[in-house]
Symmetry: C2
Subunit: 109 residues, 2 copies
């Protein structure tokens, strides 16, 4: 597993991925949305691209980036081994509740 978590550890890179959730975007789009400087965006995109987490489609003088899910899937699979640990916790807390889980502490990353 080419350190997926290391990539996700950086808030700036997560911000980029969050912006890219809304679809393919140019570098400048990402600069505006994330309020990072352009070189920083390019630098982090380069890292994300080298690791296969985003892909690049050149259109004219723009570079359109989009998410490539494969690496993220690996991270998700690693985490899936731990589902029991937070479900145990919920079960204990909910105890008698057989209802499907209501949104408890919903929060965004």
């Amino acid at each position: 597993m080419a350190d997926v978590f290391q990539l996700l550890a950086e808030p700036s890179r997560r911000h980029l991925l969050e912006a890219l959730r809304e679809g393919e975007q140019s570098v400048n789009d990402l600069v505006v949305r994330t309020r990072m400087t352009q070189p920083s965006v390019s630098k982090q995109l380069r890292i994300l691209r080298d690791s296969g987490m985003v892909s690049l489609r050149p259109v004219g003088r723009q570079h359109l980036y989009s998410i490539q899910g494969r690496s993220l899937r690996e991270a998700s699979e690693w985490l899936s081994y731990y589902e029991q640990f937070w479900q145990e916790g919920l079960d204990r807390m909910d105890e008698a509740l057989q209802r499907p889980p209501r949104a408890r502490t919903r929060r965004k990353a």
Copy 2:
């Protein structure tokens, strides 16, 4: 809020969590399993504990650690927003695109 992904970025901490998947373990157990030095194990456990990712139960002169799933759940939820990106290509998605994930559906343990 401590950065979950930052915690998971460190291989040594992931190794500890992987070892703890098999259940509560003493520090020395973890030293043996991970082949780290004892101070390193203690140091990383301290970090994991401060962030609520593991919990400590003292028994005699031993400290038994176990996984606390809440933080990991947050990471998993963040990733769940990207499921659509690795599901693309596996099969055609309906126009009903995956919307913001609700609490992950309960899985058989």
